[in-house]
């Protein structure tokens, strides 16, 4: 239930502005891959191209290929809606639907496309997803309460439960802990460790310790200057990137000399 991602010669544009240039990267199935780099280097933009969420931004477009187990996401006739149901996403700020109960939030993605689901199936799916997101014990007695009543960390885990309820191949996380306190961050990091048993996880983070803690491989993105495109500078085992990087810029960044 997880697939690998291979990106070939990917350029991302906002209108005429080249935001990310010439990315080639191979992301293994059932692993955690972290994207690090200074603000504005295009790592979030690049992450969004992995499930075509960049198309929400007017004028954003892509050249190149993103292959999900060999199938090009940008091939002719590919429906972005289908792509996104296969490649889930968790955002920087927790965003449960405020008008829905906790239970309905978990089921939101499953009920799309008029899929019918029996109450029994729904109940077990809710429990399975919330357990998968390490949230079940905290919310099992208040499933009918609004999701917005939870703490920030719980809301973020609810969003993860919502993402895994549709059984995606890949889960993308765009700085999922940047709005959370250290305890909630720890809970999410533990969860990421468990998620990689079943899913391919890609995470963007500003926190280098976090990248070092959770990821198997790390990609360092950088930007030459304002107005220049972001580039993938170095990609390798997390251990290597943090202890023995081959590029000077990577070493400077991970050792805290800039960024």
């Amino acid at each position: 239930m997880s697939k690998r991602i291979d990106v070939k010669d990917l350029n991302v544009y906002y209108g005429k502005f080249l935001a990310v240039e010439d990315v080639n990267i191979n992301i293994d199935a059932k692993s955690v891959t972290a994207f690090i780099g200074p603000s504005g280097c295009g790592k979030s933009t690049f992450l969004r191209t992995l499930n075509r969420m960049h198309e929400v931004i007017p004028g954003a477009r892509v050249e190149g290929e993103v292959l999900l187990d060999g199938d090009n996401l940008y091939g002719p006739g590919v429906d972005p809606v289908t792509v996104r149901s296969q490649i889930g996403m968790v955002f920087q700020r927790p965003n449960p639907f405020p008008t829905m109960s906790i239970r309905d939030n978990v089921l939101a993605g499953v009920k799309l496309n008029n899929k019918k689901i029996s109450k029994g199936e729904a109940d077990s799916l809710v429990e399975r997803s919330l357990r998968g997101a390490n949230l079940w014990n905290e919310v099992k007695d208040r499933l009918a309460k609004p999701g917005s009543g939870l703490s920030g960390g719980q809301q973020q885990r609810l969003c993860i439960a919502r993402a895994i309820a549709v059984e995606p191949q890949v889960i993308l996380m765009d700085e999922p802990c940047s709005a959370l306190d250290p305890i909630s961050t720890l809970a999410i990091e533990d969860l990421i460790n468990e998620l990689k048993d079943e899913y391919t996880v890609v995470i963007v983070t500003h926190n280098m310790q976090q990248a070092a803690r959770v990821s198997d491989k790390t990609a360092f993105f950088n930007i030459a200057g304002t107005g220049k495109p972001g580039k993938l500078i170095e990609y390798g085992d997390t251990h290597t990137i943090f202890s023995n990087p081959t590029v000077k810029a990577t070493e400077d960044y991970v050792s805290g000399r800039f960024g």
Binding site: V81, R84, R162
Partner: protein, 310 residues
């Protein structure tokens, strides 16, 4: 020395502050005084209509018997207007906020706002001279095929000057109000929630149902309430379009009357008790409109709490 420099006020700035706060206070008091004056005028002038013997009131059966058919007529016209205008307005608002390309969206929004700027007498003339004539055959068809429903009971009006036509004209008039308010609300839907829906694999319509409409619901309700306020009080369009008469259930026969049109049509030739009766009718409309606005306010405050909690 320090204490004096702290207590000493800076002349010019202070004076400007006082003038401004005085001006705003005066403006606030003025609007209350005008409202109070209108209410007082309505109550005093309409007292004779409430106290007069029943047979002296127009119709000869007292004020209640006089007023209730036109209250019902007013409500019928307003409800027709809302039933037609609300779905169209929400559709147009959604199209402008979420479907149309940006250039088209702003142009369309501008045109819709322009609709609100057309004087109501123009709408009335259009309804009376054009729409009524064109729509009469449709009423015939309704009478023949759906006449078993009391609201479409025949024989249909040959001129088309019915309460349904008046309702349709009112619908066109309240459309811009509901559309522009709904559009503003829809545009304020947090990007966060729209993206949450899209990232789950929602189509655009599913995203609207999951994120935009639930977020906008309280706003839609208050927009509809404001539209209702206009539909209730509209005078000229109804007076021109509707060939009025006694209260009837059928919407496609001539008949029915609204309070505002009743006042406008009868006031010029009225004298004595008739004037009081019409002013009393105005008081009733005032109370209905006040009620509608209070409901709208209540819904808007509820909306505030709701969005604040999230």
């Amino acid at each position: 020395m320090t204490s004096t420099s702290l207590t000493k006020s800076q002349g010019a700035g202070r004076a400007g502050d006082k003038v401004f706060s005085g001006a705003t206070l005066a403006a606030g008091c003025l609007i209350l005084a005008v409202l109070f004056g209108v209410a007082l005028f309505l109550v005093i002038q309409s007292l004779p209509a409430f106290t007069a013997p029943a047979e002296d009131i127009q119709g000869g059966e007292g004020f209640l018997a006089y007023i209730w058919p036109i209250v019902v007529g007013t409500l019928i016209a307003a409800v027709i207007a809302l039933v037609i205008a609300t779905p169209v307005a929400i559709g147009v608002a959604l199209f402008i906020s979420h479907y149309a390309p940006r250039g088209l969206a702003s142009g369309l929004g501008y045109v819709v706002d322009l609709l609100a700027a057309i004087p109501s007498v123009v709408y009335g003339a259009w309804g009376a001279a054009f729409l009524a004539k064109e729509i009469a055959p449709a009423y015939d068809w309704l009478a023949k095929n759906m006449g078993w429903l009391p609201i479409f009971q025949g024989p249909a009006s040959a001129t088309g000057k019915t309460i349904l036509t008046a309702g349709i004209v009112l619908a066109v008039m309240v459309l811009p109000i509901i559309t522009s308010l709904s559009r503003e609300i829809f545009l304020q839907t947090p990007k966060l929630h729209e993206e949450a829906a899209l990232a789950l694999g929602a189509t655009r319509w599913e995203m609207i149902r999951m994120a935009v409409l639930p977020f906008g619901r309280p706003g839609i309700v208050s927009a509809v309430m404001l539209g209702l306020g206009r539909a209730l009080g509209e005078t000229m369009a109804v007076a021109l379009v509707l060939s009025s008469g006694a209260l009837t259930a059928s919407l496609i026969q001539s008949g029915n009357q609204t309070i505002a049109a009743e006042i406008a049509l009868n006031f010029p030739e009225a004298s004595g008790l008739k004037v009081s009766t019409l002013i009393a009718a105005g008081l009733v409309l005032f109370v209905i409109t006040l009620g509608v606005n209070m409901i709208a306010r209540w819904i808007i405050t509820r909306h505030k709490e709701f969005s604040g909690a999230n």
